[in-house]
């Protein structure tokens, strides 16, 4: 387990160093938008906001709600 964690950390670090991670993140965003994932998420957000009322929504609430769905 430790070794795995270590390896994971090492890999992550490498990714960040080379800038690969950023590139991957942009790529992922583009793909998600393309396939409509973002729009679905948005709709879900709207529902949550309507439920909870416009004024009192917090970031954490949103995160908690939609991340699992995502």
């Amino acid at each position: 387990m430790n070794k795995d964690a270590q390896m994971r950390a090492a890999i992550n670090q490498k990714l960040i160093e080379t800038g690969e991670r950023e590139r991957l993140k942009e790529l992922l965003r583009a793909k998600l938008i393309e396939c409509g994932w973002k729009d679905q998420l948005k709709a879900h957000c709207k529902e949550v906001i309507k439920e909870k009322g416009l004024e009192h929504v917090t970031v954490d609430d949103l995160v908690a709600e939609i991340t699992p769905k995502g």
């Binding site: 795995d4 390896m7 992550n12 991957l24 993140k25 998420l41 995160v63 995502g70």
Partner: protein, 342 residues
């Protein structure tokens, strides 16, 4: 491809990335809500229905019919005619005279009508005006009325023929009273007339139906008959035109060559220099006569056959006598000199 351990790690990395994206998205939404622009892209249901995507056959995605405007007719503000919509723009261009093409057509028409007017008014009284253009202004007699025909020489062969036709009818009336319109010709026109003349003396010259051009083969061209050649010459030179003899090949060629070369050199010289109007007096005319006859006489001494000479000179003098405005005596000197030669 990857080992399962690596795959697991890749999976985790991917999950991290997705989480990051979600988080970022949440931040955007939250900010939108707080700033109040989150619901801005939602319209009310009524408008949503108006702009719904249309998917019926025959309509485009907005629900419009394809060629609805083709059959509609508009009224032209200029000529008050009702024109089909798809033809409206070109019609307007021609009608108002403001497009590129319409100005070109108008210019051509003006040029044509100028040519026609010029050559026709020449036949009346343009001595003074046109002496500057063509130094031998007083020599309206002389070569042939075909020069006048061909003198609208920006035109194509076809138009020349047409002009020839129309003028043929006119000149039936004008025969003895009209001059030659070539007095208004510039040097370029002279040269073109000259080449045409050369055609008629040395080449077949029959006008092809589909290209409207003169046949440039020799006088013995097998595609055309002598009748056709004679007809062409009569067309251009008048009823007294004689077909150059073909049998006397050697003599005829030499004669024609010298004659036409002399003609060329003479006219080129004339075309290049501007002679004053005072020069264009009778001196020029006699010079012309003398020249024409001079070469003929020299040639006749060299050559054995006289028929060709006589025919060509006869043509020239015959035409000259036909086409003068003021009566001058070209005929009497001609036979006399020939008598001397003979």
């Amino acid at each position: 491809m990857f080992s399962p351990g690596a795959q697991a790690i890749a999976q985790e990395i991917y999950a991290d990335l997705v989480e990051d994206s979600c988080l970022g998205f949440c931040f955007e939404v939250h900010r939108a809500v707080k700033c109040g622009y989150f619901f801005l892209d939602d319209t009310d249901p009524d408008s949503m229905k108006d702009f719904e995507i249309v998917d019926q056959p025959g309509l485009d995605i907005f629900g419009q019919v394809f060629n609805q405007w083709k059959s509609k007719e508009c009224v032209c503000p200029n000529c008050s005619r009702s024109i089909a919509a798809s033809r409206f723009a070109p019609h307007l261009e021609k009608c108002l005279g403001m497009g590129r093409n319409s100005s070109r057509i108008a210019n051509r028409r003006i040029a044509n009508s100028n040519n026609m007017n010029k050559s026709e008014s020449d036949q009346e009284d343009n001595d003074d005006i046109n002496d500057n253009d063509w130094s031998y202004g007083s020599e309206k007699k002389g070569v042939c009325r075909a020069w006048g025909n061909l003198g609208g020489s920006g035109a194509s062969q076809e138009e020349k023929i047409r002009q020839g036709e129309s003028r043929g009818k006119h000149e039936g009336n004008y025969n003895n009273s009209t001059g030659i319109s070539y007095e208004t010709l510039g040097p370029e026109e002279l040269r073109s007339l000259l080449t045409t003349l050369i055609f008629l003396f040395q080449q077949c010259g029959v006008i092809s139906e589909h290209t409207k051009k003169m046949c440039t083969r020799s006088l013995r061209c097998p595609q055309h008959t002598d009748e056709q050649r004679r007809a062409v010459r009569i067309y251009f030179l008048g009823p007294s035109a004689v077909l150059p003899e073909v049998e006397s090949s050697l003599d005829n060629d030499s004669f024609d060559m010298t004659d036409s070369q002399a003609l060329i050199s003479r006219l080129q010289w004339d075309g290049s220099s501007d002679l004053s109007p005072s020069d264009s007096g009778s001196s020029k005319t006699s010079e012309n006569q003398g020249w024409g006859l001079g070469t003929n006489s020299s040639e006749s001494r060299k050559t054995k056959k006289k028929k060709s000479h006589l025919s060509l000179v006869g043509t020239a003098s015959g035409l000259g006598s036909n086409k003068k405005k003021k009566p001058k005596p070209p005929a009497p000197p001609t036979p006399s000199i020939y008598d001397d030669i003979n």
